[in-house]
Structures are given as structure tokens and as C-alpha cells.
Amino acid sequence: MKSNLRSEINYDVLNLSGEIDLHHSPKLREEILGSLKGKKSLLINMEDVSYIDSSGIASLVEGFQAAKENKLSYGLLSISGPALQVLTLTRLDKVFTLYNSIDQFQSQLQT
């Protein structure tokens, strides 16, 4: 897994790529919760995620809960086919807000 956090004025974008499994999920959890601690909304770009297992999904869920508690926006951007398959299997595609573009996320922040 490779990750890169980009900070905008009122939100962060966490770009993820590669495979996310039990070996990487503690780092993912740390990055997501670390970003949310800054009290900024978070958009996670999953376009280049080629594999994610339930431990990676658990990190995403923890972030979802932390964002909800802190009334911050939290979403997944351009989710890849393999990642969407896992979200669908676990029915979390109905729980997370999925965005097709950063503009879509930004316009939701303004409303």
C-alpha cells in the first residue's frame, strides 16, 4: 500500500494505491484517524486500490465513525472495481458516501 495525504483548506484527501491487507491496515487506520484529529473532513481516493480485505475495510469504518462523532464529512472517491466488490459484499456501499469527483465532495461541503 502506498498513501499520500494532501491538505486543502477545509478538507484532506488521502490517496491510496496498491494492496491493503492485515499488514497495512494499522498504518491506514493511523493515517485516517490522524487526519480526522485535525478536525477536517476527509476524502479517501481509492481509484488505485487493487485489493482490500476486511482489515482495511475495518480501518475505513473506524474513520467513518470518528468523522460522524466529530460531525465531519467523510467519503470515498473513485472507488476501484475490486474495492467496490468488497464493499458490496459487506453491504457497506450503502453506508459510505461514494463520490465520483472531488468537485462532488466539495459541493457537498458547501451545503
Partner: protein
């Protein structure tokens, strides 16, 4: 019943940094058996989840012990057998997924395995230590 053809036997340490090697081996084998990328991805995910359960729950994350993955083709079915040597015996109840209505981290692995595979069973290996988990999936179903 068609005779089983062994396609892979791979023994590896029950450590999270070995899961990527396991997936690579499995993808190689599946590439010769199924034309559906979606099915191959699902199988890799289910086997990965089962290995993760062994690492976390059978070996309790202590990094000691191996896992053996055997892959067989029997007619239209693929059989995936995972053997561990943990002191802790797993039970069938642990293979039941939790309700998905609960939005919380963790506990999704068994649900994923049961959703993807056609059959999942713990085989009594009769020895003091270890577990054998067998999963069956019909190809291109």
C-alpha cells in the same frame, strides 16, 4: 466423482507480511482455471480472509507457526484447504458472520468467506494441534 487434481501446495509462515505472496501464488493458479476476473478476485479475497483468521485467531497474532494452502480442481469445483498447526482448536460457530446491520469495525471476514464460497467446513484433523478449513467453489458460477 471426478478425481481431484492438485494444483498447488504452498506452506508459508503465519505472518501478515506473507499474505501478499500467498495472493500472488493463488492468482497464478486461478489464472489457469477461470476466465472471470471478478471470480478470481473474490476467491483470492476469501482465501486471504481465511488466512487472516488463522493468523489472528488460531495463532493469536504471535507469528509462530505455518499455514499450508492446498488447491485442488475436482471437475467443475475448486477446493481450497488451509491447514494450521495452532494449539487452539477453532469451532464451527466461529465461522458464522456477524449481522451486517451493525456498523462497526471488524468481524466481516467470515461473512465474506461464506458469501463467496459454496461450501465452508472445518475438518476434524484428529490431532491435538491444528485445524483444517476446507472451502469449495464451483468455477464460473
Amino acid at each position: 466423482m471426478a478425481a481431484a487434481e492438485k494444483l498447488l501446495e504452498f506452506q508459508f509462515p503465519a505472518k501478515s507480511d506473507h499474505l501478499c505472496i500467498l495472493r500472488e501464488k493463488l492468482r497464478e493458479v486461478l489464472g489457469t482455471c477461470s476466465s472471470s476476473e471478478e471470480l478470481r478476485n473474490c476467491i483470492v479475497l476469501a482465501v486471504g480472509e481465511a488466512c487472516m483468521n488463522i493468523i489472528e485467531h488460531a495463532y493469536c497474532n504471535n507469528d509462530q507457526g505455518d499455514i499450508i494452502l492446498e488447491v485442488e480442481k475436482q471437475g467443475e469445483n475448486m477446493i481450497f484447504r488451509l491447514t494450521d498447526f495452532a494449539h487452539r482448536k477453532s469451532c464451527e460457530e466461529e465461522m458464522i458472520g456477524r449481522p451486517l446491520e451493525e456498523i462497526r469495525p471488524g468481524g466481516l471476514g467470515c461473512h465474506i468467506i461464506n458469501e463467496i464460497m459454496d461450501e465452508v467446513q472445518l475438518i476434524d484433523c484428529k490431532t491435538k494441534c491444528g485445524n483444517v478449513l476446507q472451502m469449495k467453489k464451483k468455477l464460473d458460477s
